[in-house]
């Protein structure tokens, strides 16, 4: 199956630093169309389209929109989550650097639909170039009267600013991000209330990923019924894939949902270099499952991914060839989460330290059956008892490999023949 270029269709063709160029090539046309629509009708089209979040959790967008729109409290806020910190993901950076006005247009449509008056564009501090480009794009949009008071004589007021992160992975979680926007440490809050009820400064807040917003101009343009013809019945539209690792042509690819992982790796990515074999593939990023080669015919689809007890993830595919050591990879992942845990939940804060100790034993070919049991139960405790997505998803790489690569754990034990206790 080839690529289906929708969001990425004009990338390379437009100058990201020129709103004039972007507008000549269609930018803000759908926002202007949306301004002439009833707010409820916009949300209705998005519901028909069955658009789900592209940041990882896959939550249906129309539920968030409706929930924010019906709030009576004002002001309402809208946040774009551009804190793309999940290792292996770079599609949001690509969108920001190549087509900033597509994202702003999507945010404007969403802001109008829910009645938000102020937007925060939260970009991780490491993305210096994306920060400069988005700031410039916002300035240009202000000059064109697309941000500010009474936009296009519609009576709709909306202002927007960039906020930058300062090196924290967990801030990609919605409430941690809201705390960070308020100038605090990025520690999540207990839900409910959800951000749509009480978000930034305690006000109703709509928060979505960069790619999710980018879909809105296309839904307004073609209508929800046409949009949902792309993809599969349960997962509609396209997905941007960040393809990396041991792969001939790494990069960002846009495919319709339903494409198989193997098609992405072989057809678009050109396979593994030097005729090596694929040993394992990590999906979604550090928080995602690691699967063996024989599972690559699985479709990229929200439903399919549920079998890993994980969310879809943001679309990273990290290919690892037969030279790579599973335990070296797992250790890196666990050390990453050990560093990035905010420390609020005990299982996450303390658990990763012990996961690392246990993994190190297997890394050194010195594991025991008891340690295998401890590793498995501890991974499950962190997965089930953490408050936010970090701890809920961080042990997925271990849980998945304990299933698919269990032999490797056995091979790394200090002695042979021991029964698991």
């Amino acid at each position: 199956m080839p690529e289906h270029k929708m969001l990425t269709k004009r990338i390379g063709d437009i100058n990201p630093l020129s709103i004039k160029d972007a507008m000549e090539k269609g930018s803000y046309k759908q926002f202007k169309k949306a301004l002439s629509m009833e707010r409820i009708d916009i949300i209705d089209e998005i519901e028909k389209a069955n658009l789900r979040g592209r940041g990882g959790a896959g939550f249906p967008m129309h539920i968030k929109l409706m929930s924010t729109a019906k709030q009576e409290a004002t002001p309402k806020y809208i946040v774009c989550n551009a804190d793309e910190g999940e290792p292996g993901n770079f599609k949001d950076r690509y969108l920001m650097e190549k087509d900033p006005h597509m994202i702003l247009e999507g945010m404007l449509i969403a802001a109008y639909a829910v009645g938000a008056s102020r937007g925060f564009f939260y970009i991780r501090g490491e993305y210096d170039q994306a920060i400069s480009i988005m700031k410039w794009a916002i300035e240009e949009a202000k000059e064109k009267g697309l941000l500010g008071k009474n936009i296009n004589d519609s009576g709709f007021d909306f202002e927007m600013e960039v906020r930058t992160g300062a090196g924290s992975y967990v801030v990609g979680e919605e409430f941690a991000m809201i705390e960070s926007i308020e100038g605090k440490s990025g520690r999540t809050r207990v839900k409910p209330p959800f951000p749509t009820d009480e978000g930034v400064f305690g006000m109703p807040t709509l928060l979505n990923n960069v790619e999710t917003y980018c879909n809105l101009p296309f839904i307004v343009e073609m209508g929800g019924n046409n949009y949902k013809k792309i993809g599969t019945p349960t997962s509609t539209g396209t997905k941007l894939i960040s393809l990396s690792g041991n792969i001939t042509n790494p990069g960002v690819y846009e495919v319709p949902f339903g494409t198989t992982i193997r098609e992405v790796i072989d057809t678009l990515g050109g396979g593994v270099p030097s005729d090596r074999k694929i040993k394992m593939v990590q999906l979604g990023g550090a928080c995602g499952p690691i699967i063996p080669e024989f599972m690559l015919d699985m479709q990229i689809d929200y439903e399919r991914f549920e079998e890993f007890e994980s969310k879809t993830g943001a679309g990273a595919i990290i290919v690892m060839d037969d030279r790579q050591d599973l335990f070296e990879v797992l250790l890196r992942i666990v050390k990453f989460f050990e560093h990035e845990s905010c420390g609020r939940c005990t299982p996450c804060r303390e658990g990763h330290v012990h996961l690392e100790k246990l993994l190190r034993k297997f890394f050194k070919h010195d594991g025991t059956p008891n340690e295998l049991y401890s590793l498995e139960s501890l991974a499950r405790v962190i997965h089930q008892s953490s408050l936010c997505g970090l701890g809920q998803s961080s042990p997925i790489s271990i849980i998945s490999t304990l299933g698919y690569f269990r032999n490797e754990f056995h091979d790394r034990m200090a002695f042979d023949g021991g029964e698991e206790s």
Binding site: P87, F90, E126, A166, E182, F201, P250, H339, E340
Partner: protein
């Protein structure tokens, strides 16, 4: 840039704390924040000094210790790791004669790890200041370091 100039750029509201800290730290030669500066910022925003301190210690990009003029951050996440041949970190360690977390004697370079830079399609990657360098090879690293060293005398 003076701290006062940075403070004047932002609304006097506590939600701009992270923006102010990031902006100011970038302009400092050794990329660190001192206790006195945290006090000044806390007073300006009318918040407790302990709050500023807790934010500074929460986020990895803030530092209370002076660093080298150029901070080299090497990515060590999985996509860079599986493409890390030859080893970027070893090359840098040998070239600069320092270990991770250390600063060269001439205070020019500090070597650190960073989490993913989102340059996985051009791995391996590192970042110096605000610039990301990709598809690194030993020769490329040598050329980059030589250029930064040259700037000292420029």
């Amino acid at each position: 840039m003076q701290l006062k100039e940075v403070l004047d750029k932002y609304p006097q509201s506590e939600d701009y704390l992270i923006e102010i800290l990031m902006d100011y730290q970038k302009h400092k030669m050794h990329h660190d924040l001192t206790e006195d500066e945290l006090k000044t910022i806390a007073t300006h925003l009318n918040i407790k000094e302990s709050k500023v301190s807790s934010v500074v210690t929460f986020y990895s990009l803030f530092s209370l210790k002076p660093k080298g003029q150029h901070v080299i951050q090497v990515c060590h996440d999985v996509p860079c790791h599986v493409n890390n041949q030859p080893d970027v970190l070893s090359t840098l360690k040998t070239m600069l004669a320092i270990d991770i977390g250390q600063t060269t004697d001439d205070k020019m370079f500090t070597l650190e790890y960073t989490s993913c830079l989102g340059a996985c399609d051009k791995a391996p990657a590192m970042r110096i200041g605000e610039k990301t360098f990709t598809k690194l090879t030993p020769n490329k690293i040598k050329a980059i370091i030589a250029e930064y060293r040259g700037r000292k005398h420029a």
